[in-house]
C-alpha cells in the first residue's frame, strides 16, 4: 500500500536530478571564487615583504663626535649633504671594486633612496649614534624579485635586467648574512612611486577613504530624506511616479556616464579641483543615491501601517509619527542599503578615470581637496606597468580592496542581524 508507485518514483528521480543540477551550479561558483582568491593571494602576498641589505655606516665620518647628532634638529640633518658619504658607505661592502662601472652596478642593487634611508636612520637614532652603525637599506626591485624567486636566474644575461655581477654581489651578501627579508611597512603608508620597490598603497587607501567619507556625508542624508519624503509624504500622482521611475533608472545607468557628468559639470562648470576625493565623492554619490533611496523605501514600506496609526491615534503629527516611529524601525534596512552602496562606490573605477583620479600621485592626500588616487584606480594603474614589482603590488592592492569590501559587507550583515525587528 505504501510502496512507491511508478509515478512517484519518476517524481523522486526528477527531484534528485534537480538537486544535482543545483549543487553543480554552486560548486562551479565556489571553484571560480576559490581560483580567483588563490591566484590573487599567491601572486600578491609577497608584496607585503621586502628585501633589505645591511651596510655598515661610519657616521663618525660625518661628524667626528657622534654624540653631537643629538643636538641637531631633524631639519638640520635632512639638509646635510650625505650623497657621497652614502655612496662610500655602500662601496665599503666590496672595498676591492675599482672599476667605475662595477661600482655603479653595485649601487644599483639598492633602491635609489639610499641616501635618504641613511639620513632617516640617523634622525631616528640621533640620541645615541655609535661610530659605526648597521643600517638596512631597501634593495632594488630587481634584487627583491630575485629574492622572492620571481626572477628566473637561468635566462641569458642580456635578457635580464639584473646583471651577472650584481647577482654575484647579492649572493655574497646573502652568504654573509647581510640580507634580511622584512615586513614591508612603507607599502601600506607611502604613495605611488616610479620605483616599484618604493611604491605604496597608503595614498590610495587614504584617497579611497576620503572619497567614501564624502560619499557618505553627501548621499546618506539626501538619500534618507528623499526616501522618507517619497514614501511617507508625497501624494501619489504622475509627478511622483515620474520621479520614482527615474530613480530606478538612475540605478541602472552605467557608471562611466556619471564620470562624464562629473567631468562636464562638476569640473568644467563648477570648477572644482580635478583628481580630488571631493569630486570623486560627488560623482560616486550620484551612483550611490539610488541604491540608498531604493533600500530605504523598501524598509520603510516594510514597517507595518499599524505603527503609523498607533502614533497618529494619540495625536502625533504625521512628521512625528514618521520620525519617531517609522524611520527608526526602517534605519537598519537603510543603513544596510547605505553600506552596500558605499561598497559599490569603493570598488568603482570608471567614473574616477574620467575625473582625473587616475593621476600619478606620490603624496598621501591630507584633505579631500588634494589630488589623490583610489584603490581600484591604483590597481588599474599598476596593472599596466611593466616592472615585475608592480605585478605583486597589483595583486596585493586587490587583496586590500577585497578585504575592505568584505569588511563593509560584513558590517551590513551584522547591522541587519542585530537590529532586525521582530513583530
Amino acid at each position: 500500500m505504501f510502496d512507491a508507485s511508478a509515478n512517484l518514483k519518476k517524481r523522486l528521480k526528477s527531484e534528485r536530478r534537480f538537486q544535482i543540477f543545483c549543487i553543480t551550479a554552486i560548486s562551479f561558483a565556489l571553484i571560480f571564487v576559490l581560483i580567483l582568491f588563490l591566484n590573487i593571494f599567491s601572486s600578491g602576498y609577497s608584496a607585503f615583504y621586502k628585501t633589505t641589505i645591511a651596510i655598515d655606516v661610519d657616521y663618525s665620518q660625518v661628524i667626528e663626535d657622534t654624540t653631537q647628532f643629538a643636538a641637531m634638529s631633524d631639519d638640520e640633518i635632512n639638509k646635510l649633504d650625505l650623497f657621497r658619504f652614502s655612496k662610500k658607505s655602500i662601496y665599503s661592502l666590496f672595498p676591492d671594486i675599482e672599476d667605475r662601472k662595477e661600482k655603479k652596478l653595485l649601487i644599483r642593487i639598492f633602491s635609489i633612496e639610499y641616501e635618504d634611508e641613511i639620513k632617516q636612520f640617523l634622525i631616528k637614532n640621533k640620541e645615541n649614534i655609535k661610530k659605526i652603525e648597521t643600517v638596512y637599506l631597501t634593495a632594488s626591485d630587481d634584487v627583491d624579485q630575485v629574492r622572492k624567486g620571481n626572477y628566473p636566474r637561468d635566462l641569458p644575461e642580456e635578457r635580464r635586467r639584473i646583471k651577472d655581477i650584481q647577482l654575484e654581489y647579492y649572493d655574497i651578501l646573502e652568504n654573509n648574512g647581510r640580507v634580511k627579508y622584512v615586513f614591508n611597512i612603507p607599502f601600506l603608508t607611502r604613495g605611488d612611486s616610479r620605483e616599484p620597490e618604493l611604491a605604496g598603497v597608503g595614498g590610495s587607501i587614504v584617497g579611497s577613504f576620503l572619497t567614501i567619507i564624502t560619499v557618505l556625508i553627501l548621499s546618506f542624508p539626501i538619500g534618507i530624506l528623499a526616501a522618507v519624503y517619497l514614501q511617507e509624504f508625497a501624494k501619489s500622482n504622475r509627478f511622483t511616479d515620474f520621479i520614482e521611475i527615474n530613480i530606478n533608472n538612475l540605478a541602472a545607468v552605467p557608471s562611466i556616464v556619471f564620470g562624464l557628468l562629473g567631468l562636464g559639470i562638476i569640473l568644467n562648470v563648477f570648477g572644482l579641483p580635478r583628481s580630488t576625493p571631493l569630486v570623486g565623492g560627488i560623482v560616486l554619490s550620484l551612483m550611490t543615491l539610488p541604491t540608498i533611496i531604493i533600500a530605504t523605501r523598501a524598509s520603510l514600506r516594510a514597517v507595518p501601517p499599524s505603527i503609523r496609526e498607533g502614533a497618529l491615534a494619540v495625536g502625533a503629527t504625521k512628521m512625528q509619527a514618521v520620525m519617531h516611529h517609522v524611520v527608526p524601525l526602517a534605519m537598519p534596512g537603510a543603513l544596510t542599503g547605505t553600506i552596500i552602496g558605499l561598497a559599490q562606490a569603493l570598488g568603482e573605477t570608471a567614473p574616477l578615470l574620467l575625473i582625473g583620479m587616475v593621476a600619478f600621485v606620490v603624496d598621501v592626500p591630507s584633505s579631500p581637496l588634494d589630488a589623490s588616487a583610489s584603490l581600484p584606480v591604483q590597481v588599474y594603474l599598476w596593472a599596466e606597468s611593466a616592472e615585475r614589482g608592480y605585478v605583486e603590488k597589483t595583486s596585493a592592492t586587490i587583496m586590500l580592496l577585497l578585504g575592505f569590501l568584505i569588511l563593509l559587507n560584513l558590517t551590513a550583515v551584522l547591522i541587519r542581524r542585530k537590529f532586525e525587528t521582530k513583530w
Partner: protein
C-alpha cells in the same frame, strides 16, 4: 439618559468612486458604551474612523456630512486633527504597541503633547494609565521591557493605556477583542465597564454577545447604511427592522 456627546449627521464616505457609507446619522451618548454591529464590510469601522478623522490618512478617502463632538464640528477647517485625536483616542483591531518599552509606549503621547514637565509627572501618568487599563500589577516590575513581549491581551490593554494616557474624553475601539482568546476578551470587557464611568466609548464588534454584554446603545449597519439604532435591550429583544432581526438571529452575517 446621558447627554449627547457625539452627533453624526448625513455622513457619506467615498473610497475613490466607491461609496462606503450612505447618509448615516447617529447620536452617541456621554459616558456610555455604544456598540456598532453588522456583517463584514458593512462600514462600521469606516464610520468609527470618521469620529477621530483617521480616514484622513487614506489619500483616496473623502467624507461628507457633519460630525460634531460637544457641538463642535470636527471637520471644520479651524480644527487641528492632532488636538482632535488627543481628545478622541483609538484602540485597533490588532494590538499595535510601539516596539519600545512598556513605559515608552505610554509616555509617548503625553510627551508630544507637552502634558508633563518632569520625569516624575510622566512616571505618574504611566502608572495611572496602566492602573486604569488594569495592567499595572502585571507589568509594574518590567516597565522597561519591550511592549511587544507581552501576551496579546496584555498588549491590547497596553494600547488602551496608551490611548488613556493623553486624557481623552472618547475612546474608539475597533474590534479590540477579535485577536484575543476568551479570557483576555473577558478582561477587556470588564475593563470597559470600568472605563465607561470616565470615558465615552464607541466599540465596533463582530460579536453580538459582546455588544449585548457591554453596550447601552447599539447601531446595526448593513451595506454601508445604518439600519437601526436603539438601546441594546431593544435591538436584541425587539428590533424594529427585519434585517436586524435576521442578523441577530444569525440568518446572515
Amino acid at each position: 439618559m446621558n447627554k449627547v456627546k457625539i452627533s453624526a449627521k448625513n455622513i457619506d464616505v467615498f473610497y475613490g468612486d466607491k461609496q462606503a457609507l450612505f447618509d448615516v446619522s447617529m447620536d452617541m451618548y456621554e459616558k456610555e458604551v455604544t456598540a456598532l454591529i453588522g456583517p463584514s464590510g458593512c462600514g462600521k469601522s469606516t464610520f468609527l474612523r470618521c469620529i477621530n478623522r483617521m480616514n484622513d490618512v487614506i489619500d483616496i478617502c473623502s467624507v461628507k456630512g457633519n460630525v460634531s463632538i460637544d457641538g463642535h464640528d470636527i471637520y471644520d477647517k479651524s480644527i487641528r486633527v492632532e488636538s482632535l485625536r488627543e481628545n478622541v483616542g483609538m484602540v485597533f483591531q490588532k494590538p499595535n504597541p510601539f516596539p519600545k518599552s512598556i513605559y515608552e509606549n505610554i509616555a509617548y503621547g503625553p510627551r508630544i503633547h507637552g502634558m508633563a514637565n518632569s520625569k516624575t509627572d510622566i512616571d505618574e501618568i504611566v502608572a495611572n494609565s496602566l492602573q486604569k487599563a488594569a495592567l499595572f500589577d502585571e507589568v509594574k516590575d518590567r516597565l522597561h521591557q519591550p511592549g511587544t513581549g507581552l501576551s496579546g491581551g496584555q498588549q491590547q490593554r497596553l494600547c488602551i493605556a496608551r490611548a488613556i494616557s493623553v486624557n481623552p474624553e472618547i475612546i474608539l475601539m475597533d474590534e479590540p477583542c477579535s485577536a484575543l482568546d476568551p479570557i483576555a476578551t473577558a478582561k477587556i470587557e470588564e475593563l470597559m465597564n470600568e472605563l465607561k464611568k470616565e470615558f465615552t466609548i464607541i466599540i465596533v464588534t463582530h460579536s453580538m454577545q459582546q455588544a449585548a454584554r457591554v453596550s447601552t446603545n447599539t447601531g446595526f449597519f448593513h451595506l454601508g447604511k445604518l439600519i437601526e439604532v436603539d438601546s441594546t435591550d431593544t435591538i436584541f429583544s425587539n428590533p424594529g427592522n427585519q434585517k436586524t432581526q435576521d442578523y441577530i438571529t444569525g440568518r446572515f452575517g
